[in-house]
């Protein structure tokens, strides 16, 4: 990307919620996943993240499961951004906030991540109180039990 270099990221509600629920499900471990999106048609400096796919919650740095998961990810996603490290500033910001106040992530200077729908945090708090994070399954879970779908299709119904 040309221009002023720094990309901004706009994350959709579902992608954001899935991401947070995934890390809540595995409170005692680091998690990673893939954010999927595309360059905004309106503004080249903005990447719109439309979905997130939770991948792993153990042994994040090992190649074979990571390779398989990326191969299995559907090619119809326009641009896959693998953002393993990206998740940690987001999570640290949320997790350190021990009270249930989930702040808009944009305050962390390093990540330039903005919520597309500001109501996302409200929906998120609802989900947290109903322990929705128990329903999130990631690719790691899939490898242990292939009946589990890492794309979480029914999560928001």
């Amino acid at each position: 990307m040309g221009g002023n270099g720094e990309l901004k990221y706009e994350i959709s509600q579902n992608a954001y919620i899935k991401l947070v629920l995934h890390s809540l499900r595995h409170k005692t471990a680091a998690v990673n996943g893939v954010l999927v999106g595309r360059i905004s048609a309106k503004d080249e400096g903005v990447v719109e993240i439309s979905d997130s796919v939770p991948l792993f919650h153990s042994n994040l740095a090992l190649l074979p499961p990571l390779e398989i998961s990326l191969i299995m990810l559907n090619n119809k996603k326009l641009e896959a951004l693998s953002k393993g490290k990206h998740r940690s500033p987001v999570m640290q910001l949320c997790v350190k906030d021990a009270s249930k106040n989930w702040r808009v992530v944009g305050t962390d200077g390093g990540s330039k991540l903005l919520l597309k729908e500001p109501s996302a945090n409200v929906v998120l708090s609802d989900y947290i109180s109903s322990e929705k994070w128990k329903d999130v399954t990631d690719f790691d879970d899939h490898l242990d039990d292939v009946t589990k779908d890492w794309l979480n299709p029914g999560l928001f119904n």
């Binding site: 042994n59 090992l62 190649l63 074979p64 191969i71 299995m72 559907n74 292939v146």
Partner: protein, 302 residues
């Protein structure tokens, strides 16, 4: 590590307890015995017993064990006030106790008061230099403070003395992997396989580390360990089956332009056997994903 039967029993009790079916004390005892981490539930149900004087006195001398268990669970859930209260009760009942001293130090850790916790542990270690739990707390503190190299240093020293502690070897391996020090991680898994050669978990982990390091020989070795995992799990390990396919593909790629011997190492029969087993599994259990799997396997066949 927990066996499948133990896990089933635990889950059953957990469901029962959560749905008001009683069995709380059995559940808490099982959690303690298996040393699993179920802190939220322990806190919730443990407190329900402790806060009820009738139930509490029914426990007899086990009451104090429960206080200890709940204190630790509370710390894991960051309910430091609850933990503090439990500890106070224990301190009153057992003044000067080393066991209570350990929990006090744990509370310092939970509060993030690292220096004070270090001091407390050092004092405890003076009287009992071979206390494994305290040594492991030092590793945990290093990890919590984001000092993985210090954690590694402590763990290595620990393992010089307690070299049969498999959990410690696993922990060390995982820290190495997180730092991308794969060769060192491989060494740990080698130790584990030597001491417990029939545990498929170690074969699998070793294979994955070898694959990650890469290179022709490591890939061949990785494939061997994926194969032994399949052997040890009766063909049920999806990860190992996928690993075989990945190895086959990677070896074939590396073998391009090499001499015939190396090409023979491609072992296409092994790869197609694994692929067939995988497709069968997906067909039975996850038919919606079968196409995805098949195209993934096709892309691996080069």
């Amino acid at each position: 590590m927990v066996t499948k039967t133990e896990e089933t029993e635990l889950n059953q009790l957990e469901n029962q307890v959560e749905n008001g079916g009683g069995g709380v004390w059995e559940y808490l005892c099982l959690v303690r015995k298996l040393k699993v981490r179920r802190s939220e539930l322990v806190l919730k149900h443990g407190l329900s017993i402790l806060n009820d004087p009738g139930k509490r006195s029914a426990l007899g001398p086990d009451e104090w064990t429960l206080y200890e268990q709940v204190a630790i669970a509370a710390m894991d859930c960051q309910s430091l006030a609850v933990a503090q209260n439990c500890i106070k009760v224990l301190q009153k009942k057992f003044p000067e106790s080393k066991r209570v001293g350990k929990i006090e130090a744990l509370l310092l850790e939970a509060k993030g008061m690292w220096e004070e916790a270090e001091k407390a542990y050092s004092i405890l270690l003076e009287d009992n230099p071979l206390d494994q739990v305290i040594h492991k707390r030092k590793v945990a503190m290093a990890k919590a403070q984001g000092k993985p190299s210090l954690a590694i240093e402590h763990l290595n020293k620990y393992l010089e003395v307690f070299m049969a502690d498999h959990d410690a070897w696993r922990e060390l391996a995982e820290i190495y992997v997180s730092l991308q020090m794969y060769k060192q991680a491989a060494f740990c898994y080698e130790e584990l396989i030597l001491s417990q050669p029939t545990l498929p978990l170690y074969h699998l982990a070793y294979a994955e580390v070898l694959y990650t390091i890469g290179g022709h020989e490591n890939l061949i070795a990785a494939r061997k360990y994926y194969a032994s995992t399949i052997d040890l799990t009766g063909g049920k390990s999806t990860r190992a089956l996928l690993g075989i396919c990945l190895c086959g593909s990677a070896i074939a790629q590396l073998s391009k332009g090499r001499n015939k011997e190396d090409k023979d190492m491609a072992a296409p029969e092994l790869q197609s056997l694994a692929a067939t087993a995988l497709e069968k599994e997906y067909k039975q259990k996850a038919p919606a994903k079968l196409n995805l799997l098949s195209s993934a396997l096709r892309s691996l066949k080069l």
